[in-house]
Symmetry: C2
Subunit: 340 residues, 2 copies
DNA sequence: GATGAAAGTGTGCACGGGCACACAAGAGAA
DNA sequence: TTCTCTTGTGTGCCCGTGCACACTTTCATC
């Protein structure tokens, strides 16, 4: 592997001159610059990551993370990923600040301002899909602060990258599991959807519906909304089941899974019901072990915590952009036998 | 984060002395050593990875990889992972040598000797489960050459770590999919097993059988052996299906999947057959898209290529041992909707 | 013709750790 | 006493990169 020193020797100049050319810091004779660029290209020069990281320690980087509020156990697993990466980055003189906010654009913007005041050099955020937030992200991008979205994305903004599930595909995969478990029998599905403010919920439903349309013997009976509260979910699911005795499958696109399952159990309809959910929180595991939930689709929460920090650190320390803009986590099907 | 320099200043000695203590290189006054160790512990000293890697460049590390022979498309994905990591390690002055051998212990031992002659500092291998090979691994371990197994493991050896699937669990997961797709109907399963020399094949069958035993309405009709050849597999599957017209599910624990599926198609029995396989080679994808195979269980081949090299490099460059001995890749269920 | 600015270039240090070598102090032998 | 050997310690350089600063050369201005 070529080094700056080698390029300098070949070009007959000093390391400093090569450095100025490669980092576009000016004050170099155009002819010399061209020669250096040619040599660098010929040797396929790539800066040594260990050297870059070592030199970056002087920057004393601070990374900010903004997640949705407490009480959502899914994010505990995301935080586990953050903590792990935080530990790893600590020895590079890089620290992490976590803030948790409600599903509210104003709170998110305020959290960003707070992080900037605390000296954050980059921000990872699970955003609402709101234009005002997109504008804010563009603003701080122009000010040199990179942003990575995690878990759910925001449309039309200058965020560096997104880390999370391909929601459309994971909705379609839920439909595929319904298809496989149905064999050729008639299936009547009730959908329990999530907040329409969050991109990942709406996309999941879209992917599910599109894939279900191809199956003649599978019909969606009704779609209801829920708002992550298990007791609200319990009541709404109860009403849905009473209204449609023909329902033999449920698709939970967001939270409220536990309440919904309890309602199915209360009505003694678990045995003939196919239930597909998302994520793998403790209550969901419990319902899988009891054979109430057939399968749950996970989205690597640990990676959703660690990878955004990795992208931000790499960008800030070495200037390297992430390979892809969309860093999809695996569409991870879990059943009783492969839980954990 | 503490550095050697900081510890040295606090202890009133020089960097060299601290270095000798931390790396147990002797020639230090016992009292001074104790004092240094205390300070290091109090500051929770962990060496800076960037510094270590930079210093390790002088070692000019060489990593050897031994994989099963050409013609097995699964290993192409493993090699993709190796190539990626090789590229990453190139700038740390670390190179990779790949050798491919038959499923044969003598060839494997010969390949190890060749790699050592070529100056390899560490070896990754997908081994046969043979005592002679285990002895060889122990020998080179004593000589300071670490070994990591990948894809399939070897019992009772001093290999540093294993990277691959939890076969028992993935067999059980295959059974779980059978369970879910059966609902409450009777299922008669034919198993197409793989070579008994390879640990991962035998363990998969064990996990499958154990999980199936719990399901009253699912029975294993017959288990046949195949040896990865699609034409042999075609004939054997044909005979199995003719012998047992009641078979409505097939479990392929190893190779020969494509030949088996072609036989099912030739007999017009695909529509009512539930087929579960392993891995995601092109021919398997084709059969999933044609609704012949219901689901396939993957084992992150890319990770099986990259992670062993990561473990070896980290160990050789920084002295850090892998966190776990068993680095299980995900039991990754794929259906039509989440292929790729 | 001295002064100053501007453009272009080289050098030195920092970042953290490994390791070779130099060097000091003390003990034992000639 | 002088020489040698041992034990313990400090120093300098290397790994690759970034960046501040000092230096040279050229050209325009007073």
């Amino acid at each position: 592997m070529a080094t700056i020193k080698e390029i300098a020797d070949l070009a007959g100049v000093s390391r400093g001159t090569v450095d100025r050319v490669l980092n576009k810091r000016g004050s170099v004779n155009p002819q010399t610059a061209e020669k250096i660029l040619e040599i660098a290209q010929a040797l396929d020069y790539k800066p040594n990551r260990a050297g870059l990281v070592l030199a970056a320690q002087k920057k004393n980087l601070k990374l900010g993370v903004i997640l949705f509020g407490e009480g959502n156990p899914f994010f505990d697993d995301v935080i586990a990923g953050i903590r792990r990466k935080e530990e790893e980055l600590a020895c590079y003189n890089c620290s992490v600040i976590i803030k948790r906010v409600a599903v509210d654009t104003d709170e998110q913007i305020r959290a960003i301002d707070e992080l900037l005041k605390e000296g954050a050099n980059g921000i990872a955020i699970s955003p609402t899909n709101d234009k005002r937030l997109a504008t804010k992200i563009d603003e701080i991008y122009e000010a040199g602060i990179p942003v990575v979205t995690l878990n759910t994305d925001i449309k039309n903004s200058k965020r560096l990258a997104f880390v999370g599930s391909n929601y459309y595909q994971s909705g379609a995969t839920a439909a595929g599991l319904m298809r496989l478990m149905a064999k050729n029998e008639a299936v009547h599905i009730g959908i329990i959807a999530g907040s329409s403010e969050i991109l990942c919920h709406t996309e999941r439903i879209a992917g599910f519906q599109h894939a279900i349309e191809k199956c003649e013997h599978i019909k969606i009976v009704e779609t209801i909304m829920n708002f992550d509260d298990d007791f609200v979910s319990y009541d709404m699911t109860s009403q849905l089941l009473k209204k449609h005795p023909e329902i033999n499958a449920l698709f939970f696109a967001a939270g409220g899974v536990y309440g919904g399952c309890r309602s199915v159990l209360a009505q003694n309809r678990a045995k003939d019901m196919t239930i597909i959910t998302f994520d793998q929180v403790d209550t969901t595991k419990e319902m899988i072990m009891k054979d109430v939930i057939s399968a749950t689709i996970c989205q690597e929460p640990f990676v959703q915590g660690s990878r955004p920090l990795d992208i931000l650190f790499t960008y800030l320390a070495t200037g390297e952009l992430p390979e892809q803009e969309y860093n999809y986590t695996a569409v991870d099907i879990r059943i009783k036998e492969n839980l954990d």
